[in-house]
């Protein structure tokens, strides 16, 4: 890596931006060469400024004239004054040119400031548009976050409910069969058939709950009806297994019981899911 690259780039960028070009020097070189020891002809800058060597030559002439005027005394002072006066005309022109340059420079600065303000207004307009777009995006982000939160909560609810159903089906089958046997006095054959019916009942109930979560539109009312229906069918099936004396005892047991077989669909809903945010609230 070249250690002077920055300066080199700066020079090229300056040339590209300013549009400066080298002055055409060939004719001047030839003129100076053919003049031999002729005074130095400075290159004219593209902007029309006088090169530093011109200024030095002028200063030398003025100083020479001053020295001559001192040496010649009062009489030659008039002549010397003329010599001094001669460069004053270009000096006045130069100062006027300097003033014009200053005014030009001030106008250029004002132009630049005006352009700067226009750019600033445009930048602010773009910023406002960006902020408007950004605020819309924020609303969308908020909606997405809320949607994701609801989905998360729903998934947790489903998980807890299905876990509850798994426990429920095992517990309810055993408790119901035990309570039925105790109150109705089942024979071994009746107990085996009753067990099968109860297995079907809790199996169907769990399937309805799982189906409820799989559905695109969750049908709370339809699921409740199915659960009530399968419960009623199970009750009828169990009753049909019994003789007339046992059926009286069964009816009495169902009337007094708080079991799921007696209460229907409400028992299939967990007591409290997600701190009361229970989508099955309308079941109760």
């Amino acid at each position: 890596m070249n250690e002077h690259h920055e300066q080199f780039w700066d020079a090229l960028i300056s040339e590209a931006v300013s549009g400066d070009k080298p002055a055409y020097v060939l004719s001047r070189i030839q003129a100076r060469a053919s003049a031999g020891a002729a005074p130095h002809v400075p290159a004219q800058a593209p902007t029309g400024r006088r090169a530093p060597t011109t200024r030095r030559w002028k200063v030398a002439r003025i100083l020479g004239a001053l020295m001559l005027s001192v040496a010649l005394g009062a009489v030659s002072a008039v002549a010397a004054t003329r010599v001094i006066d001669q460069p004053q005309a270009p000096a006045t022109t130069a100062s006027l040119r300097k003033e014009v340059d200053k005014v030009d420079s001030r106008i250029a600065l004002l132009d630049a400031a005006q352009k700067g303000r226009e750019i600033q207004v445009r930048t602010l307009e773009e910023r406002v548009a960006w902020l408007q777009r950004n605020s819309e995006t924020n609303v969308e982000v908020m909606e997405r976050v809320m949607r994701e939160r609801d989905e998360r909560r729903d998934a947790q609810h489903k998980e807890r409910h299905l876990a509850f159903i798994e426990k429920f089906r095992a517990r309810e089958r055993e408790q119901t069969l035990a309570s039925l046997d105790k109150n109705v006095k089942l024979t071994a054959e009746q107990k085996s058939e009753a067990g099968k019916l109860l297995d079907q009942w809790v199996g169907s109930g769990a399937a309805y709950i799982s189906g409820y979560y799989r559905g695109h539109r969750r049908d709370t009312h339809g699921t409740r009806e199915k659960l009530d229906e399968v419960t009623a069918q199970t009750r009828d099936g169990l009753r049909a297994l019994l003789d007339s004396r046992q059926q009286l005892a069964f009816d009495d047991w169902i009337a007094r019981s708080n079991s799921a077989l007696a209460r229907g669909s409400e028992s299939w809903v967990p007591a409290a899911v997600d701190n009361g945010a229970d989508p099955f609230a309308d079941w109760r």
């Binding site: 070249n2 960028i13 931006v17 070009k21 080298p22 060939l26 700067g116 750019i119």
Partner: protein, 173 residues
């Protein structure tokens, strides 16, 4: 050599390259014009044998640098990069065979890719010779902001030129 037609060809061929080299050493445009003229006058006074383009370029840059050193010392000004050892070779390596022509052209094209603020800042700096304070005022920003803006713009231009050179396979470095 350096007589008549040969000398004309020499000046036409190398004038821009020598002027650009002097600008790279830190000369202002008018000073570079003066010193380019002095360089060729020196060559006219003391002819040399042109063996190859490379050696001619190297010799002319050496003379130009010497002219700059002499002029600056006479004026009691800082000599800047002219005193750096081997600066001619470094410039030749940087500028490439076309003496920086393609890079200047590429820079002019790349200027189009700058945004308005960056263009304005560079134009004020290089065209109008405005101070950083003036640029900052015109763009309603702090001095530091103007400095950063110009540095960013310069970096953008360099990257743009280097990318173009890579695409064309004309990189000089």
């Amino acid at each position: 050599m350096a007589e008549g037609r040969d000398f004309e060809v020499l000046v036409r061929t190398w004038q821009t390259g020598i002027w650009r080299f002097l600008r790279a050493l830190g000369c202002a445009s008018a000073e570079a014009d003066d010193l380019t003229q002095e360089t060729f006058l020196e060559v006219l006074r003391r002819p040399f044998e042109q063996r190859s383009e490379q050696s001619t370029g190297a010799y002319l840059r050496l003379v130009a640098r010497h002219q700059m050193l002499m002029a600056r010392r006479k004026q009691g000004r800082e000599v800047g990069l002219a005193e750096a050892e081997g600066i001619e070779e470094r410039w030749a390596e940087f500028a490439g065979q076309d003496e920086g022509d393609s890079r200047v052209e590429a820079l002019k094209e790349c200027m189009k890719s700058l945004d308005e603020r960056e263009k304005l800042a560079l134009e004020m700096r290089y065209k109008r010779d405005s101070s950083r304070e003036e640029i900052a005022r015109a763009l309603s920003m702090s001095d530091g902001g103007a400095k950063n803006l110009m540095e960013r713009a310069r970096e953008k231009l360099k990257r743009c030129v280097e990318l173009r050179e890579r695409k064309l396979g004309t990189g000089n470095e």
